[in-house]
C-alpha cells in the first residue's frame, strides 16, 4: 500500500518498463499504445488503444499493465479502451524504432517499405508478403544477404 498517490510521471516511468508481449525489446510506451494516464479520485485510469483490432496480444497487454501497476502498490485501477483516433505507427517512439531495428525487425516508414535490411543494411530488399507472423508485420527478404526479415508495417 502506498502512502501517497504516485505522480503521473512516476506511473509513466513504470509503464515504460513494461515490455510488449510480442516484441519484448520495446516497451508499451515505445509502442505508443498508452493513450493516457489519469487519477480519477483515488483510482488510476489507464487508457490503452489496440494496434490491430484482432491483435491477440491486447488482453495480455492489459494483464501486464495491471500486474506491473499492482506490483507498485496501485490498488484501484481502471483500464479503458480507446479506438479513436486509431493507433498509427507514427506513434512508435524514435528509441522504439531503433530498438526494433537492433532486434532484427525493420521499423515502419511512411514510404511503405523498409529502408534497408536490419542485418546487413543493404538497400536491396524485396517484399515477400504484406502479411507476417503477427498482424502488425510484413515479410521481406534481403537480396544481398538473402535473409528474410520482418517489417513492422505502416498503418
Amino acid at each position: 500500500m502506498v502512502e501517497e498517490k504516485p505522480t503521473l510521471e512516476t506511473v509513466w516511468g513504470w509503464l515504460d518498463a513494461v515490455p510488449d508481449p510480442e516484441i519484448p525489446v520495446i516497451s508499451l510506451t515505445d509502442l505508443g499504445i498508452i493513450r493516457d494516464v489519469q487519477w480519477q479520485g483515488d483510482t488510476l485510469e489507464v487508457t490503452v488503444t489496440p494496434t490491430y483490432s484482432g491483435c491477440p496480444a491486447t488482453s495480455i497487454i492489459n494483464l501486464d499493465i495491471e500486474t506491473a501497476l499492482r506490483a507498485k502498490g496501485i490498488e484501484k485501477l481502471s483500464l479503458k479502451r480507446q479506438l479513436s483516433p486509431a493507433w498509427t505507427t507514427d506513434w512508435l517512439s524514435e528509441s522504439g524504432k531503433a530498438k526494433l531495428e537492433d532486434y532484427g525487425i525493420a521499423p515502419p516508414r511512411p514510404a511503405g517499405g523498409p529502408q534497408h535490411c536490419p542485418r546487413c543494411k543493404s538497400a536491396k530488399v524485396e517484399r515477400i508478403s504484406q502479411f507476417g507472423s503477427t498482424p502488425c508485420k510484413a515479410q521481406w527478404r534481403c537480396q544481398s544477404c538473402l535473409e528474410p526479415f520482418d517489417y513492422f508495417k505502416c498503418i
Binding site: P50, S53, G54, C55, P85, I128, Q130, G132
Partner: protein
C-alpha cells in the same frame, strides 16, 4: 457489419494450415484475425445498443441461421483458392468503401470502429486485388478457374447494394450510407481490376437476396454454424 465479418472470418479461417503456400496460409489467417477483431467490436456495440445483456460471444454463438444478417456472399463456401480470393476481393472492395463512409457516421462509436478497421481492410483489398490480377492474368488453368469463380460469385454482389427501410432510416440520420450510393465507385474499382486480370464481368446483374434480411440464407450458412457453434451447443456456457 458484425455478421459479415464474423461469417467471412470463419470461412477464411477454414484455410488455416491447408493453404497452397505458407505465405498465403499466414495471410489468410491474418485476414481472418482482423475480421474477427472487427466482429468483436461490431457485435459488442450491437449487444450494448440492444441492452439485453448479450455480448459479442453470445451473439456469435447463441443465434441460429435466421437471426444472422450477413450478406450471402460472405457465407459462400471456399471452393478452390481462386474462388476464396475472388470472394475476398468482391467483398473487400465493398467493405473498404462502406468503412470509409462509416468513418463519417453521426454515431461516434461506429465512426471509431470504422476508423480502426479501414486501416486493416486497406491491406486486405490490396492483397486480394493483386491475387485476382495475378491468377486471372496467369496461366490458362488459373485464368479459367478465376473466370469460373467470378461467374459463380457475381450473382451475390448485388445484395451488397440493396437498400431497405432500415438502411433508409440509418442513412436519414447520418449513421450509415445508402447502400446504393456505393455502387458506382465499386463498379469503377472492380471493372479496372477485372480488366487487368483479363476476366470478363458477367452481363447479368441479377442478385440473389435474403442474407442481409435473414429471410433466406443459402444452405451453406447452417452447415458453417454447426461447426462454428459446436462447442457452445454441446456444452452451453463452457469456459476454460
Amino acid at each position: 457489419m458484425g455478421d459479415n465479418t464474423l461469417v467471412l472470418s470463419h470461412r477464411v479461417s477454414e484455410w488455416c494450415g491447408v493453404a497452397p503456400v505458407l505465405e498465403e496460409d499466414i495471410a489468410l489467417a491474418n485476414t481472418a484475425l482482423d475480421l474477427i477483431g472487427q466482429t468483436q467490436l461490431w457485435l459488442g456495440l450491437a449487444g450494448e445498443i440492444e441492452g439485453k445483456g448479450r455480448d459479442a460471444d453470445t451473439l456469435a454463438f447463441r443465434r441460429d441461421v435466421w437471426d444472422f444478417r450477413n450478406v450471402l456472399l460472405a457465407e459462400q463456401p471456399n471452393g478452390d483458392f481462386g474462388q476464396t480470393m475472388m470472394r475476398q476481393y468482391l467483398f473487400d472492395t465493398w467493405h473498404l468503401l462502406q468503412l470509409k463512409a462509416l468513418k463519417g457516421s453521426s454515431n461516434a462509436q461506429i465512426a471509431a470502429i470504422a476508423e480502426k478497421a479501414v486501416k486493416e481492410v486497406t491491406y486486405h483489398v490490396e492483397r486480394s486485388g493483386d491475387t485476382v490480377i495475378g491468377l486471372g492474368d496467369g496461366t490458362e488453368e488459373s485464368h479459367q478457374r478465376m473466370q469460373k469463380a467470378l461467374d459463380r460469385l457475381w450473382p451475390y454482389v448485388g445484395e451488397l447494394f440493396v437498400s431497405d427501410a432500415v438502411d433508409q432510416a440509418l442513412s436519414a440520420k447520418g449513421i450509415a450510407p445508402e447502400p446504393t450510393s456505393l455502387r458506382e465507385e465499386y463498379d469503377t474499382a472492380v471493372n479496372a481490376v477485372l480488366a487487368e486480370a483479363t476476366l470478363t464481368r458477367p452481363d447479368s446483374d441479377f442478385a440473389h437476396q435474403g442474407g442481409k434480411t435473414g429471410v433466406r440464407h443459402t444452405e451453406h450458412l447452417g452447415h458453417m454454424l454447426t461447426e462454428m457453434q459446436w462447442l457452445q451447443r454441446a456444452y452451453p456456457d463452457a469456459t476454460w
